[in-house]
């Protein structure tokens, strides 16, 4: 824990409540994610995981409390924050190549009216290498498998050189090879000092990839070290009637 306290806070939630218009989606969130740490957002569908990610991006307003990203407001921090959407939310027919998608991660740094430089191309190529898809650079994005598309989107985020990485359900419907590649790339980003927030349904992955867990269902049902927070009691509280206990110390979630 002493090591963690030395690290700077990348994301601070202080009694934060988030709302779409007048409809509160998340209330009273409290916790800190430090640089080099990963936190898993876990909760059922509609729990507000994506909304929290959008609030950290400054796209959904914080109505009470405070969300601080890299020491500033979410909107001010966007330059150092990268977002990885779910691959299947993107049009597979869109005429764009894998390397073009990865280059999109550099757009913010390239700026308006400019074209990618040799350095931008090098960053993009390196990012694609990190997810193991260099050989697919020229392929159309939509021709890749779901897992590969997810890796391309992670490469796009890596190319942006973020200090905070936000991933929305990156492991949904992803094959084992891609899951492994995603986990490795995320681990390397952590090593390099980036903070990672990943929403997932997969408790095993939360254990594997994340130091901390935030249990969400409109409210926060726990935020802290993975082993301490992922208890059967808390999971039952988070998932309501959709959590079943197995052999005393394990819980299976029947409906996500």
């Amino acid at each position: 824990m002493t090591q963690q306290q030395d690290r700077t806070a990348a994301l601070v939630l202080e009694q934060a409540s988030v709302a779409y218009g007048h409809v509160p989606v998340l209330e009273e969130l409290h916790g800190t994610v430090r640089s080099g740490e990963a936190v898993a957002l876990i909760g059922p569908n509609g729990a507000g995981k994506s909304t929290l990610i959008k609030a950290v991006l400054g796209l959904v307003p914080t109505v009470r409390g405070r969300i601080e990203v890299l020491g500033v407001t979410p909107a001010q921090a966007r330059r150092d924050v990268a977002y990885v959407p779910q691959a299947d939310t993107l049009d597979p027919d869109f005429p764009v190549s894998v390397e073009q998608v990865v280059m999109m991660g550099r757009y913010r740094k390239i700026g308006w009216l400019r074209r990618p430089s040799a350095a931008d191309r090098a960053h993009a190529a390196e990012a694609l290498e990190r997810v193991g898809l260099s050989d697919r650079a020229k392929n159309r994005f939509g021709t890749l498998s779901g897992g590969q598309r997810q890796r391309v989107l992670l490469a796009r985020a890596i190319a942006a050189q973020p200090r905070l990485l936000l991933l929305d359900e990156p492991f949904n419907g992803v094959d084992a090879v891609s899951q492994h590649a995603l986990l490795e790339a995320i681990a390397l980003l952590k090593q390099q000092g980036a903070a990672v927030v990943v929403s997932t349904h997969d408790l095993a992955i939360a254990h594997l990839a994340c130091d901390e867990v935030c249990l969400l269902n409109r409210h926060q049902f726990g935020f802290g070290p993975t082993d301490a927070v992922l208890t059967p009691e808390r999971l039952r509280a988070t998932y309501g009637g959709h959590a079943l206990e197995l052999r005393g110390d394990r819980v299976i979630v029947t409906q996500t």
Binding site: A82, L90, F94, R108
Partner: protein, 285 residues
């Protein structure tokens, strides 16, 4: 007597210009699934044409200004919670056209102007029409080149663009305004009803030929120019409507490319492009 004094020469230049413009802008119309919006715009400009005729100002200036208002209304309305882009477009289409009809029915003596407006007459374009089309073409191509990467990101991944801090509403408006200006510039040649052919056909044909974005623009432009010139040529040879000929060439070229792509087995399986994704994409614009 200059080269431009010939009706056929002017028609060929105009056709080539709108061919390039329609092809290039069409790439984004296809990629963002906006053919319906483009169709709606041609009708949405209608009241502007009528009002311009009433006021005695240039018809296409009237159509252009009114069209921009329609674009603005669609962008604002589709951002309202619980509304979607296609609903806003549908209302703009029917509402705009209805307003035009009401204005016409309250007045006499419109019929002549309106025939040219609805089906176009590329053989009637004046030198000043040509200059306007050329200026529009240059401005649209420069803006598209300048905003190319941002327009691409918003088109491909709207949430990602917003997350990166891009002003998505401004970029939406920019793209829709580009389409609108292109529509208004193309209407004298093809007419309100047939303009959509040039903004959809060549780009859709190019999409059948290549997957690569950098090749889509030149191929779509080339197809647009060839269809437009072929339409004018057929029209002058056999004295048939030029706008309709151009639209038919756009359709025939697409048909030929489609058949060729099926023959070559390049047609992607339907499973790769689920209808739900298509609808979702259109709704998200």
């Amino acid at each position: 007597m200059t080269w431009l004094d010939s009706t056929v020469h002017r028609a060929m230049i105009e056709a080539a210009l709108v061919g390039v413009l329609g092809g290039v802008v069409g790439v984004f119309v296809i990629a963002r699934r906006l053919p319906f919006f483009t169709m709606a715009l041609t009708h949405g400009t209608f009241p502007g044409i009528v009002v311009a005729a009433l006021l005695g100002v240039d018809l296409y200036l009237g159509g252009g200004v009114f069209g921009l208002l329609v674009v603005l209304a669609v962008v604002v309305f589709s951002r309202a919670r619980g509304q979607d882009f296609t609903a806003a477009t549908g209302i703009a289409l029917s509402g705009g056209f209805a307003l035009g009809v009401v204005l016409v029915s309250a007045q006499d003596g419109f019929s002549k102007d309106l025939t040219a407006y609805t089906v176009g007459d590329v053989l009637a374009v004046s030198t000043s029409d040509l200059v306007i089309t050329a200026v529009v073409a240059v401005v649209v191509l420069v803006v598209m080149a300048a905003l190319g990467k941002e327009l691409l990101l918003v088109a491909f991944d709207r949430n990602g663009a917003a997350a990166a801090g891009l002003p998505t509403a401004v970029l939406d408006f920019a793209l829709l305004a580009i389409i609108e200006v292109t529509v208004v510039a193309t209407v004298p040649a093809l007419g309100a009803i047939l303009t959509v052919a040039l903004l959809v056909g060549p780009a859709a044909t190019a999409r059948l030929i290549t997957d690569r974005l950098v090749l889509l623009f030149p191929i779509a432009a080339a197809v647009g120019v060839v269809c437009a010139l072929a339409g004018v040529w057929v029209s002058t040879q056999w004295n048939i409507a030029a706008g309709a000929s151009i639209a038919l060439f756009c359709g025939a070229t697409f048909g030929a490319a489609f058949v060729a792509s099926v023959v070559r087995g390049r047609l992607r399986p339907a499973a790769e492009a689920p209808v739900a994704v298509a609808v979702q994409e259109e709704a998200r614009v």
